[in-house]
Symmetry: C2
Subunit: 360 residues, 2 copies
Amino acid sequence: VQGVKDAKPNHSPRAVAVRFDDETGELVLLDQTALPGEVRYLRLSEPSQVREAIYELKVRGAPAIGVAAAYGVYLGVSRLSARDALSIERVFEEARGLLQSSRPTAVNLTWALDRMARRLSAEKGGSVEQIRAALKQEADAIRAEDEEVCRRIGENGLALLGRNWGILTHCNAGALATAGWGTALAPLYLGTERGYGFKVFADETRPLLQGVRLTAWELHVAGIDVTIICDNMASHVMRQGWVQAVLVGCDRVAANGDTANKIGTSGVAILAKHYGIPFYVHAPVSTIDRACATGRDIPIEERPPEEITEKWYARRMAPEGVKAFNPAFDVTDHELVSAIVTERGVIRPPYDQGIRQLFE
Amino acid sequence: VQGVKDAKPNHSPRAVAVRFDDETGELVLLDQTALPGEVRYLRLSEPSQVREAIYELKVRGAPAIGVAAAYGVYLGVSRLSARDALSIERVFEEARGLLQSSRPTAVNLTWALDRMARRLSAEKGGSVEQIRAALKQEADAIRAEDEEVCRRIGENGLALLGRNWGILTHCNAGALATAGWGTALAPLYLGTERGYGFKVFADETRPLLQGVRLTAWELHVAGIDVTIICDNMASHVMRQGWVQAVLVGCDRVAANGDTANKIGTSGVAILAKHYGIPFYVHAPVSTIDRACATGRDIPIEERPPEEITEKWYARRMAPEGVKAFNPAFDVTDHELVSAIVTERGVIRPPYDQGIRQLFE
């Protein structure tokens, strides 16, 4: 491997992608579009700002989006006063609608907003102050639970890995994608603390480069051995025998175990199967959408072609007038998934049965 | 598909990647690093300039490199005069060594230089003028034959395709990669003339973006329907049923049918097999290297990590100090190849036998 530079990693504490500042009443997001060049925090006080931050991927990753959306609706009602009692539901629903439509694929967004709505219902008849406090508490709980979920996914996932393994990961399902240590990357942080000595390959993940900008950044900062490869190099790296497991996150799991995740995930899963490498999907239970029977029912977000043809570049790379197709996610068939790692345990095939049991 | 813009294609004549200007005695290359933004021609008169142009990918594609290298050694001896008779072999060998080492994976480079060396041997004892003329004639023949080879590969390849098929291609094996209409793209040009109505998906082909910069450009200019996708979107596009065949070029074929081509090709082949899509490799016979028993014997060029972390971008995309691995080619196992299309016909498995017969 060429290009090894001996930069000293920082071993700094985990990046905090999303938190609430109780003193100022603002949602604080690490602006992920500025990474890795700049560590910049956004302070938001309006649901519309949260919507924009989600759409523009300043905050991204299914669990982090869920947490941000929960605080987003809270922001909508946070400055209502007693005389606004009658309008609280309208204000809440307005904020909810705004946030709901920001990204279609990740189900945690809907899950978090539904949970906030249920809390609002439960508080019906309370004072504006009581309702505000209850919604704040609910959003805080969603954030805190996500942190705990990450820890448990880390433990459950680590049990599937061996010492000195080569690990390939796609996109970013780490600290930057959650309120905790991440989903797919959580086992790597935990294992590293326990001396596992992983060697990680991070797919750069076109077109938005979450692998090179985010995964490589957070693992390097944590002192974990990480090597960037282009998405199309995964097959070559696997063929060399350098990968013992593929770990990915997930935006939505259907009832049959089909999973939607960042575009390219299904391709990596097919390669892993070809080379006989286990392919593990890491998903909080909140990511499972039993209303989707199969992956065919999961909506796939399509984003602007300019993200492929122009974004990041010093000059436009595509010829003028040529079409570009930019789906942001794809569906990995459940038959390609070796196991789904959740905070409640590891689900193995047959997934329809395993998922049903999880909710019983 | 979003982002369709109705730009009128030019229907201009085929781009000429490599030609010799007999009036000025210069090798004229279309500078492919400036595409698609700028159509700029380089005029070269020294073997060292040709070496640099090959290494920097100003000319690329196995057949085009072969043609450029043939003219490259000719340039070395082209200005020798009668009194240099004794040094002609030394000058030739110097130029040959320089060019030989410019890129290791494509075998056409070696093949063309060996052919020029055989011609030099055949002319032994001739005058400097005679030798110069013979070498020029040989380089011209290599160029002209490549054009004819492309035409025949086009015919042979087209016979495998159907009307209105969706075609996926990786990297650039078109007019820009050869002295003619290309290898993998030749059937598309020919079929388009005959009203086949192909719909082409061009993998962008990181890190050097030959798909987005070159393939999309030359197909669009020729009026062929082309859509750019990121490399990691091929699986999703295949899953939609939009691809009926994958067509790729080739830098070297081993005796058992294993083929080296642009990094990512092996991954596309694995996806094609998974989805039951035929995967066709297009290769002039000069690309077959019977001295390589299997793909394990083909040297894989590794290029600077900065091509991944910095090249093309307005700002560096990778965190400082993080490793990047940048193999320029990979090997596709012969079991993944549905057929190898050459100018002498289509080879089907078992390839060891088919390749042997080709040379009998």
